[in-house]
């Protein structure tokens, strides 16, 4: 833990360093236009937890150091692929990229295709919602390798490397596990003995691959999100990723649900039939609400962690005084250590609830 703490402390100081570079850059870049640009923490934090086309590492504006990633779009005229660096770090819709006679802009990390004949993006205020809306462009189907997709690949490769090497080590050494296997085996056995078996019962073996995969996917994904050097990718805190994982649980549940489960939903036992009118829709909706709860729990917990860390570091920049680091750094450190716990906890909760829901669906009838 002490080593972790030390590393964390170092990494956090780098985050702070990155912020300061960013601030200088933005002040220099836009200083001529405005007298003084206020540091907008809300925008920065939200920008950070959202997906983006490039893998931003350091700096801001034109000077930013960003790993360019492929933008892959499916338009009415077919597939379009180009590097995210062609936007030149612009995500305000100013820089127009022309491909195959189509014009694309990056507006708030979303690629828009300008309608024919338009030369630049136009936005207008929607009076009802009070938000800016794009008026002269449409969104093509977007399969870009974004920051989150890139992180997803890294995560998948990392997990594959870890666990195939663990699996190999068992072939060489069938006795007490050593090295990496010694670290991973307690977790694997934990998922089996404390998550799968108590919640699913004797049919647990069928669901072990899914539960183990989802557990390590979320846990290691959460930890990747805590590493500042690689720009804290908020993969598991992404609503889409959380939703996709929850849909996996839901689909596995629906495929394996037995008659008893459905009869409990559509014919709640021990209830007067008149109540079925109310209960059946509630029970049926409950199946999907469970998946929704899984999504929101994971997304909200992880995203909140990211926003708290950024907000605490942001204190320094809102106040514009390095002395605030005396307060901000210890608090950030505390939250980061807490986030290490949350990383494991959310992986556990997601897996445990998945196992619980699946367990209810495959439970043997006992009435």
């Amino acid at each position: 833990m002490t080593l972790n703490t030390l590393i964390n402390r170092l990494l956090l100081s780098f985050v702070a360093f990155g912020f300061s570079l960013g601030l200088f850059a933005s002040e220099e870049g836009h200083g001529e236009k405005k007298e003084k640009e206020e540091f907008n923490l809300t925008e920065y934090a939200l920008h950070h937890v959202k997906d983006s086309y490039g893998y931003h590492l350091l700096g801001d504006g034109e000077d930013a150091v960003t790993l360019p990633l492929p933008v892959i779009l499916w338009t009415d005229n077919g597939l379009v692929v180009f590097s995210s660096s062609e936007f030149h770090h612009d995500h305000h819709g100013h820089h127009v990229v022309e491909k195959n006679g189509m014009k694309f802009v990056n507006y708030h990390e979303k690629v828009y295709q300008l309608k024919d004949g338009e030369s630049h993006l136009k936005t207008k205020m929607n009076k009802e919602s009070g938000q800016m809306e794009v008026s002269n462009a449409v969104r093509p189907l977007d399969f870009s390798i974004t920051k989150n997709v890139f992180t997803l690949f890294v995560l998948a490769i990392l997990i594959l490397l870890i666990f195939t090497s663990v699996a190999k080590s068992y072939k060489k050494n069938p006795n007490a596990p050593k090295g990496l296997a010694g670290w991973m085996e307690p977790l694997i056995v934990f998922v089996r003995d404390d998550i799968a078996i108590p919640n699913i019962g004797h049919k647990y073996a069928k669901f072990m691959p899914y539960l183990l995969t989802v557990f390590f996917f979320i846990w290691i994904g959460n930890i990747l999100g805590l590493l500042p050097f690689i720009s804290n990718p908020n993969l598991t805190g992404s609503f889409t990723v959380a939703l996709t994982l929850a849909l996996f649980t839901l689909i596995i549940l629906l495929i394996n649900a037995n008659k008893g489960y459905w009869s409990h939903i559509f014919m709640p036992p021990g209830m007067p039939k008149i109540l079925w009118l109310i209960l059946v829709p509630i029970e049926f909706a409950g199946v999907f609400i469970k998946a929704g709860a899984l999504t929101i729990r994971l997304f909200a917990n992880i995203t909140a962690g990211h926003i708290i860390v950024i907000s605490l570091v942001g204190i320094i920049f809102i106040k514009g005084n390095i002395a605030w680091a005396g307060l901000s750094v210890p608090m950030t450190l505390f939250i980061s250590v807490l986030e290490l716990l949350v990383a494991a906890l959310q992986a556990y909760i997601f897996t445990m609830l998945s196992a619980l829901f699946i367990g209810q669906a495959v439970e043997d009838a006992h009435h």
Binding site: D142, A167, L212, L245
Partner: protein, 164 residues
Amino acid sequence: MDLVLPSVGLMFWTTLVFAILLFLLAKYAWKPILGAVKAREEKINNALEAAEKAQKEMQELQSKNEDLLKEARAERDTMMKEAKETSIRLVEEAKAKSKEEAGKIIEDARKSIEMEKTAAIAELKAQVASISLEIAERILEGELASDSKQKALADKLAEDINLN
């Protein structure tokens, strides 16, 4: 708001990557790992069971040994006792026998002595008789050597008879 709007592209990639990851891990990681863990657990359980069994057997063997020892001791005791009894009996018997034998020998001796005695007495008697006859012969020869002597004897005999 678009923080909570799902993005189609990311969902597509996540589904694809997660499904592939699930497939690969299930085949190349979870199956061998869980198999190895289970095999080892079974091995450990078996070893523990075997050890327990061996211990039980050992205990049984030990108690059996003790029983055997006890039995052997008891047997030894009874054997010793019997042997003692036998020896005592044998001695007694021998004593009685020897006594009897001795008595018999003495009896025999006595009988033979008696017989010898009787035979000796009989012989003595016979000898005495023959000697007496010789003496009597010689006396008679002497007595009857002359007529006077014959007459005196006749007289004497006659006197004896008279007296009778």
